[in-house]
């Protein structure tokens, strides 16, 4: 996997959020900006690692993501807001946690296609919706999944979290969560509406 030269000194040993300890000597400081340590926010986000998913993995990811978060009155389909791409990017990132997630997710996608082949002799994304639902219903809840479906259930739990994470961290969908921020407001901060304060009995606090 290509990683930017010079970032080997990043020192990702130790716990996720960056432990103390010795780092290797770095190359001479250069005045140019580093896309990770010192991003240039005026430019669009640089994605400095190669995305790893194959075309088939992306198809499977898309099919499953759109099943988990379909197009409806409460927003677009997951694939319409870049969720498969986000999952690909997440699993391709070089950090320890992402490496772990990548194994679960890519292994799970393979498991899903194998299960789909066993049942219907087709890849998951080639199935009809009803057939997909049959499989997903068997793996959607890891507390009640059968032993032979446990792998799929563990994968589904993680995959569902990544779908949610990628779906709602988007300015096109976050209103469906009830998030209405990221807008400038003149004057004093308005705060919560008075009716809401009173409805919750918080007016004399």
């Amino acid at each position: 996997m290509k990683w930017l030269a010079g970032t080997a000194a990043a020192g990702t040993v130790g716990p996720v959020i960056g432990a103390p300890g010795e780092t290797e000597p770095a190359p001479p400081a250069s005045p140019s900006r580093h896309p990770i340590y010192d991003p240039d926010f005026a430019k669009p986000g640089v994605f400095p690692w190669e995305k790893q998913f194959t075309a088939e993995e992306l198809k499977t990811t898309t099919a499953l993501a759109d099943l988990i978060l379909p197009k409806d009155d409460n927003g677009p389909a997951a694939s319409e807001v870049g969720v498969p791409d986000f999952i690909n990017e997440w699993c391709s990132a070089p950090y320890d946690d992402n490496r772990e997630d990548s194994e679960s997710i890519r292994g799970g996608l393979a498991w899903l296609n194998t299960e789909s082949f066993r049942r219907f002799e087709k890849r998951f994304d080639e199935l009809a919706a009803a057939e997909q639902v049959q499989i997903v219903d068997d793996i959607c809840d890891d507390s009640i999944a059968k032993p032979e479906h446990k792998t799929g259930a563990r994968f589904f739990k993680k995959f569902r979290q990544l779908c949610l994470g990628g779906y709602y961290t988007h300015s096109a969908t976050w209103k469906h969560l009830g998030y209405v921020g990221n807008l400038p407001v003149a004057g004093p901060y308005p705060g919560p509406p008075q009716e809401l304060i009173e409805k919750l009995g918080l007016q004399d606090v």
Partner: protein, 592 residues
Amino acid sequence: MPILTDRKTQTQYDAIVVGSGAGGGMAALILALNGAKVLMIEAGRNYDPVTETPMFHTPEQAPLRGERTPDRVFGHYDATIGGWQVAGEPYTNKPGTEGAFWWWRARMLGGRTNHWGRISLRFGPHDFRCASRDGLGVDWPMSYDDMHPWYDRVEKLIGVYGENDGIENAPNSSPGILQPPPKPRIGELMAKKAGKGLGVPIVAAHRAVLSQPLDGARLAKELFPSNAKAQEIIARDMSMRAPCFWATNCVRGCSIRANFQSTTVLIPAALATGNLDIITDAMVREVIVGKDGKATGVHYIDKPTRRDMVAKAKVVILAASTCETSRILLNSKSLDQAGLANSSGQVGKNLMDSVGTTLGSHIPAMEDLPPYNEDGAGGIHVYSPWWLVREHAKLGFPRGYHIEMGGGRQMPSAKNFGVLDSKAPGVYGSKLKEEARRYYGANFGFAGRGEMVPNKDCYAELDPNVVDQWGIPVLRFHWKWSDHEIKQAEHMQNTFAELLTAMGGKATPKSGRDAIQRPGEIIHEVGTARMGAKASESVTNQFCQTWDVKNLFLMDGAVLPSNPDKNPTLTILALAWRSSEWLMEEMKKGTM
């Protein structure tokens, strides 16, 4: 070398200021406004919040939707260049010491003031005489009354919102200074109600964020009554800052200059005097001392060219951040292998960080609330000042902590949905969207920031074997929490659990040992060159002047002899201003 001003650097300055953050920025401003020629030397790069802050940038524009990574520990959009690890600038922890200290460096003009939380609390009367009250640690060499007018000045200059609540040891500002705080959000009102039942006060937070425009003309006249040029410069600069428009979290910085960062509140006015030169990308190795024992300047390395250089001045002010300042002193060995200004042996000692723990919970009563914009001031609107000031006999631990809190619907991040694993297992499809909406933002959490007692096991020294990429010996840290801090952490957890339960949530408090966050993780490290009343026991006097070298000053967190339950930045600003004015008087008298 990058020079930010269009003059070449001079051969001799009145003062060199090492560091451009709270202390360095304030020292440079006050000296420059008073006509001194100042050279500021910053180890990081030039950084301009006005052009560089990602205001309104959305998550989908960032790698991993802006999520925290080991490279961007507070998220992609956080205004930090640096962190607990800086490539090529390692530090070590002595093997066998109990806690590994995490040392934060912000390598950018303005330092940590670019990404801090803007929480601005005054130290209180008890804090300055802490040892007289409970026999632990040391007293400060001055009282709250000495500092009160300087806190007033700083709050006027930078703009702080909050209220005067008349709480013991959380002092009021003089009337007319604090700006109106933003209204509390729903979760905060619920917490406040829960707090009432438990005797925990929850009041308006104090933060360096403008909620109103500054009346530059009036304030500048009050702050600099006998300096017409200063009035003109400060009035003009203040009037160019816009009040907060309640969007974009403060940790990103602020392009409209609504919050305090050295880069938008101190440095522009200092540059406008024409008396300040700034060099960036320059790492100071040591203070140079003449045969008479006085400082003559600093030896630094210009990072891009890797050339050694010397800058000369009549006065040297170190404000490179707590441990970096001590490191420079320890590495300045021309007179003494023990380092410069270290006849007391205290340099590197008495390192402190805040005691920190967190606890949060899902809150059912916050589900399915009608949406309203909860961004607010990009940080806390309320907090709890320490309320058990007189209860120490019962508590079993000294000192105290304040509580920060928050929850509700903030800008979504990728890891906000873990709650659905337990609340909506097995759900997918349209129903999942309903559940996501139901539970999103229905949570609240508390974070404590407490006072630790300095102890002999927490200190920094030079590592005998390791140098950084510039060849400068690095620091080696030693750390051990005492029972005082562990018990305090436990009290925090129990208090938070009670509050969350009273709000209808459910949270299991952790033990003190499990809950206490890592040393250095709160990034309030202070001490290592404490001020004091006696030269034998301290490194500087109350005006940040080192006892041993009369023209050497330390104006950052290194001089704090205690680390009260209040964030240190406001005090660092007040000390730097007070000390700089004293220094100006001494320079006029000719004692420098």
